[in-house]
Symmetry: C2
């Protein structure tokens, strides 16, 4: 497995996860997180607007979604364009080297209502970005919304399967399989 070389924002996220696990989310300050990562408070705030945001990587995912859809082949259907987002997530975000980190992060979020709320709003934002990027390809509004919702659902299913067990499965493959299941289920309606 390739060694993961975290950048400043990922070092802060790892430090935050460690501290949240050791002493609880409420008892951890931004200064604690920066110090643990060997960085300063002002570096923290260059990357993240507040303590919660440290687990959500700023707006990195939004860029990934928008770029993946813009770069999809010209003749891609809405769901094929969405599949390009899932591929990109597997290639750039949910990599084998990050699996353990993602599983720990998921457990911390599940234990904290404030983090769950932030995650929920981030999810809505990503789905809205996906919808907007599909509309810009010329798909009708409702078609774009439905494709984005089905893509978000496939991503959620794959994310849970991928982070639950260390099966060695590739996120992109799990996500394409989940998208196929979602598509098959919606075709019956």
């Amino acid at each position: 497995m390739a060694r993961w070389q975290p950048n400043a924002s990922e070092r802060l996220a790892v430090a935050a996860l460690d501290l949240f696990a050791e002493r609880g989310y409420e008892n951890t300050t931004v200064i604690d997180i920066a110090r643990r990562a060997g960085l300063t408070k002002s570096t923290f705030f260059r990357h993240f607007q507040d303590k919660r945001e440290v687990l959500f990587g700023g707006d990195m995912m939004t860029g990934l979604v928008v770029e993946a859809i813009a770069a999809a082949p010209a003749n891609a259907t809405p769901l094929e364009a969405v599949a390009c987002v899932l591929d990109a997530a597997g290639r750039d975000v949910f990599t084998p080297a990050r699996r353990e980190f993602v599983a720990r992060r998921r457990a911390v979020i599940a234990a904290n209502p404030e983090l769950q709320e932030r995650e929920a709003l981030k999810g809505l934002g990503l789905t809205a970005s996906m919808t907007g990027a599909l509309k810009r390809r010329g798909f009708p509004d409702v078609t774009s919304s439905v494709a984005a919702e089905l893509g978000a659902l496939a991503s959620k299913i794959a994310y849970e399967r991928w982070s639950d067990t260390d099966s060695g499965d590739d996120f992109g493959e799990l996500a394409r399989r989940a998208l196929g299941e979602v598509q098959a289920a919606s075709a019956v309606f």
Copy 2:
């Protein structure tokens, strides 16, 4: 139009909306809200866990979702069961007498990130409740998830159309029409 007789929890919500509009969300306390509604702080906390929750009616919507799906006809398809939820929302929640209140509430939430986060998590919870209720009717897991997501999307589309303009349209009718559009879009994939 029937006169709307708010109960304690709705009086608190109306008082909160008035105060948020007058002096801002941050500058309004739970005590202010209770006083404006002619109630006490302890009555507030019997209904709501915190200040944000006053705009989300506790867990009332969850009960509505679960009961509407359980009460759907025995031979209902997943989307027909979801349509029963939309009908119930139009009958019991998004009534003509509440339209102005809902439109004001929507504007206040849109202006406040904390409220947006709470709304996002509430939305996920409702979709999860809908998924669970569909599974209990014996539908497969992914089918239940897809039907719930499409229902949530139809509800969101209808909610925006219904609260945007005072067209006199019935929420349940708008929602069934939106569900039809969503279903037609997903059938193309």
